[in-house]
């Protein structure tokens, strides 16, 4: 599997295979898309396709899509989906759009993998970098990951964010900071949290500048790119204003994520907590949770300054655990980036436990949700317990990957310690 000549034909075959698999699932099992759209593991209040349709209906009838408090997604989705032929009569176009977005993301991921950034960044070269997977394999792992497929079939709009983030990273790796910033701005516009990826992405862009256009001053480089992000957002927001006719979309989309006003269960850790929270402490703990989510950005960026792509990967893992409305789509993005670190896999210590936990929760989560909601023989604690375990599994993976990457760096400094047991103090 490692290495191997990747021809254009094989890549095309891979994409065609992924597309055909998805199309087959869409068409051969007509009930499947609706079933998956209704699953809380896939559709959160801020990404659900059902809610998108509700917003679309209101929008097409000249009612503000945010009336009724169901639709919490970015306004620019509305003209995009209105351009497609109606979903009710021609669902195939929507399917094709989602498949295309998945394939675009995979293409970006393949580029990231082929650049070799994971093993040898501008400031650090891993001694193990030779042992890696090609972009073909990594794209295949992404495309045939059941989580990715389920997200695509469930038509969660988070696939657009995933695609934007992957493209931002791909552009940054290939030395196109401007495009990277534009892609990140789109991600931030769609889901807000990708904005937190800006610091490591800036560093990645800075490290991978093309020599002919390099900007040596880090501060100037950062300022320029932050200006790009601000101006792109400065275009997107007025456009949204023009589309919906009011600034109502700001509280309805970002406000909902910030205040967690929709407490629909999901696989994250927030909803249960804020159901139980005393009202007078609610706003304080909202702030604590958001600060907790964002405080890793600075620390990780500084600590693993030499490998910004690692920081991006770890942050995506952290977001998949601690976001207000996470879904398996976020996990699939994190799991798509993890194989880039094939070279440090031998340094990881808990791979078996992690794999076991993720498989265990994948099966038990839906079962407990069924017990709680449909069978009525369980309660909310059943499902929440499983989401805790799911979070535990992912955080183990994040920790283990961090450990492996740091150990890899450390062994370069201390070659005499290679292969020795270490003890954390």
């Amino acid at each position: 599997m490692d290495g191997g000549k990747v021809t254009l034909g094989r890549t095309a075959g891979l994409y065609a295979g992924a597309a055909v698999l998805r199309l087959a699932l869409f068409t051969l099992f007509p009930g499947l898309p609706e079933l998956l759209t209704g699953r809380v593991e896939i559709s959160t209040p801020v990404t659900s396709f059902k809610r998108l349709q509700e917003g679309l209906f209101l929008y097409n009838h000249n009612v503000s899509p945010y009336d009724g408090g169901v639709y919490h997604q970015a306004p620019l989705f509305l003209p995009l989906f209105s351009l497609l032929p109606s979903f009710a009569s021609w669902p195939i176009f929507t399917y094709l759009l989602y498949i295309a977005v998945d394939l675009l993301g995979a293409a970006a991921l393949g580029k990231i993998a082929d650049s070799g950034e994971a093993g040898s960044s501008a400031l650090f070269q891993s001694p193990r970098r030779e042992k890696r997977w090609s972009g073909f394999v990594i794209a295949a792992v992404f495309l045939f990951n059941p989580f990715t497929i389920a997200t695509c079939i469930g038509r969660s709009t988070s696939v657009f964010t995933t695609c934007a983030i992957l493209h931002a990273i791909a552009k940054a790796v290939s030395g196109a900071p401007f495009s990277a910033m534009v892609a990140l701005s789109f991600g931030a516009y769609l889901s807000m949290y990708p904005l937190l990826l800006l610091p490591p992405l800036l560093l990645l862009c800075y490290d991978r500048q093309r020599p002919e256009r390099a900007m040596p001053s880090g501060l100037r480089f950062a300022a320029t790119n932050v200006c790009v992000v601000v101006s792109v957002l400065g275009v997107l927001f007025p456009m949204s204003y023009l589309i919906t006719g009011s600034w109502e979309f700001l509280p309805a989309t970002y406000g909902v994520q910030l205040t967690l006003s929709d407490l629909t269960p999901n696989i994250g850790l927030w909803w249960y907590f804020f159901i139980e929270m005393f009202d007078s402490f609610r706003s304080f703990f909202l702030a604590v949770f958001w600060l907790h989510l964002s405080c890793y950005v600075g620390g990780l960026t500084i600590r693993i300054r030499r490998q910004p792509l690692v920081v991006l990967t770890l942050l995506l893992g952290i977001f998949a655990i601690f976001k207000p409305y996470p879904s398996i789509s976020d996990s699939s993005l994190f799991l798509a980036l993890v194989p880039l670190y094939r070279h440090v896999f031998p340094l990881m210590r808990y791979t078996f436990v992690i794999a076991a936990i993720i498989i265990y929760t994948t099966f038990l989560g839906p079962a407990f949700y069924h017990l709680w909601i449909y069978a009525g023989s369980g309660n909310a604690n059943f499902f929440y317990a499983i989401t805790l375990v799911w979070g535990l599994g992912q955080s183990l993976l994040v920790c283990d990957l961090t450990f492996a990457v740091l150990r890899d760096e450390w062994e370069v400094e201390r070659p005499e310690m290679v292969g020795k047991e270490i003890r954390q103090i």
């Binding site: 304080f284 604590v288 405080c295 896999f345 070659p415 020795k420 047991e421």
Partner: protein, 560 residues
């Protein structure tokens, strides 16, 4: 794929890592840097860049905590307490802010008397009244109305009663049943001379007035005495028996509400009668009373017919004990309350049962028809209506007696006093109700003030402060116009505002949130975050001080 090797090797994947990392294994291990011999136990000295990096990492976390976390903590957990005028609120509830005074103006119409004589009579009567009165809260102020020829006295709101002095054979008095007028006839010789200091006519008028207002005075003094009015204006002379009967009456009447819902129900144990002319009957017999009550209450009305309704007690003759279980609450559709307004139920039960009234129990509610109807305190009335078996339609005429009973019971249920003519009873009702609302609003204010004092950690939103200030404005106006028409309106608003302020949603939730809960909230949630942060900072500070000391020692050595 990826995980296979580590999985197979279990927890010691590093064993074969040299195989996968040829560049490192190529480095000759037995050629160690000079530190190695000493670092068999001790790790090598950290590079300054690593130390600096760690400082930055710790700083980055602490910057977020200090720059964002602390302000947010302060902002979101400070308790907003709107300023409440606590002392004034307590004054209201202690009755110090308002001395409930009911100045009733009584005008005397004496067309047959000269101005001078009339003035003199008025002065003497006022003296006599003041001598008789022992309750300063309830004033009767006499005034002379300009002589008018017309029979009808001027309808002006300020006057509670008009006395018409008419020359006649003997000293008699009659209360006009339709207007607040007391007709007093007097023999011509009883007009006091300008010089006399007492007059039998004046005394007579005074005692008549006093007896007319005796009930109102008793009720008001009862209200004031049951509330926390300080003893100096607490009225004297309320006998325990009087107080008991008043308290009985108060418990019978419903709590004041601006709107009452009247439900008229026809229950019959068989299939007949199936309809009744209730609308016509209400218009005919009850509407007039509802109209005169309208300044004080609004009424909404609905009616229903229920066939095959079995009462809770099937006896032919109902005893007093049966009455309480007669209503078949489980099966009869008598909803407790429709909308926000309290419901008053009027039930006509078609059947030939009768109520056994022992002579001793004749002091029950009614003065007449004791055998056919009874009043259920704060709930309504049941009337037993015997009808021929084949009646299909109950005519309005048949309903006359039940409705008249209902009407009189309605007055009693709304708390109208029992003596005097109807107009007088109603104006008295308005005054009683305003006093009642005033006292209730004041005591709610007092409770709110005591609550705010007792729980220093409860937040007081701006809305509550608004409500309190509105309440106090209206209370002040109500207090100033207690005897007048506006008094009731203001008291009504004041009471509603006070209730709204007291039952503010965000405050009710905090009533049972003691400070100990805060520890329970903070420690488990913030402990796991706080301990690593604190330990990191402490270690960093310790290391920094150690480095400083070492540097100082080094420099000291150099100097030597």
């Amino acid at each position: 794929m990826a995980a296979r090797r580590p999985l197979a090797k279990g927890a010691t994947p590093d064993v074969d890592s040299p195989k996968s990392t040829p560049p490192i294994s190529a480095v000759p291990a037995p050629n160690p840097p000079e530190t190695v011999s000493t670092t068999r136990k001790q790790p090598p000295v950290e590079k300054p860049s690593d130390i600096r990096r760690r400082t930055w990492v710790i700083l980055s976390f602490w910057l977020i905590v200090v720059c964002l976390g602390l302000p947010i903590w302060w902002e979101t957990t400070t308790i907003y307490r709107a300023n409440l005028p606590l002392t004034e609120m307590l004054e209201w509830s202690d009755g110090k802010a308002c001395r409930p005074v009911f100045p009733l103006r009584i005008s005397i119409q004496a067309n047959a008397l000269h101005e001078q004589e009339a003035q003199n009579l008025l002065r003497l009567t006022q003296h006599a009244l003041d001598d008789l009165n022992d309750f300063s809260g309830h004033h009767l102020r006499l005034q002379l109305s300009p002589p008018t020829v017309e029979h009808a006295p001027r309808e002006d709101g300020g006057t509670a009663l008009t006395i018409r002095l008419i020359p006649g054979e003997a000293t008699t008095s009659t209360l006009d049943p339709y207007a607040p007028i007391l007709d007093i006839t007097y023999p011509p010789n009883s007009i006091p001379s300008p010089t006399s200091s007492s007059s039998s006519l004046a005394t007579y008028v005074a005692s008549q007035l006093r007896s007319t207002f005796a009930e109102e005075q008793a009720i008001i003094s009862y209200l004031l005495s049951s509330d926390s009015v300080p003893s100096d204006h607490r009225p004297q002379g309320l006998t325990p028996e009087a107080a008991e009967s008043l308290s009985k009456r108060t418990t019978r009447s419903l709590k004041y509400a601006p709107t009452y819902h009247l439900t008229f129900s026809l229950f019959t144990s068989g299939p007949l009668p199936s309809s009744w002319d209730i609308e016509a009957a209400i218009d005919e017999y009850m509407k007039p009373v509802l109209d005169v009550l309208s300044p004080i209450h609004n009424f909404t009305i609905d009616t229903q017919v229920q066939l095959y309704a079995t009462p809770g007690v099937q006896n032919q003759v109902l005893t007093k004990e049966d009455l309480s279980s007669f209503i078949n609450a489980a099966e009869w559709p008598l909803s407790p309350s429709i909308g926000g307004a309290p419901t008053i139920n009027f039930i006509v039960f078609v059947g030939n049962q009768t109520i056994l009234t022992a002579p001793m129990e004749n002091t029950e509610t009614e003065t007449y028809h004791t055998s056919q109807s009874w009043l259920i305190p704060q709930w309504g009335t049941v009337y037993l209506l015997p009808l021929p078996a084949d009646t299909t339609q109950v005519s309005a005429e048949t309903l006359k007696q039940p409705l008249l009973t209902f009407t009189s019971h309605l007055l009693s249920l709304t708390g109208t006093p029992q003596s005097g003519s109807l107009p007088l009873r109603l104006s008295t009702l308005a005054r009683i109700r305003s006093a009642d609302l005033l006292l209730r609003a004041s005591s709610t204010l007092g409770s709110l003030a005591r609550l705010a004092l007792a729980l220093p950690s409860i937040s007081i939103p701006e809305r509550v402060a608004d409500g309190v200030s509105k309440t106090m404005t209206h209370l002040r106006q109500a207090c100033d116009n207690l005897g007048g028409a506006d008094g009731l309106a203001h008291a009504r608003v004041a009471e509603a505002e006070a209730e709204r302020a007291f039952f503010e949603k965000s405050m009710v939730g905090q009533l049972y949130f003691p400070d100990e809960h805060k520890i329970a909230v903070y420690i488990p949630l913030l402990g796991p975050i706080g301990i690593p942060l604190l330990m990191g900072l402490l270690n960093e500070v310790k290391a920094w001080r150690k480095r400083k000391r070492e540097r100082a020692e080094k420099e000291a050595k150099k100097k030597e």
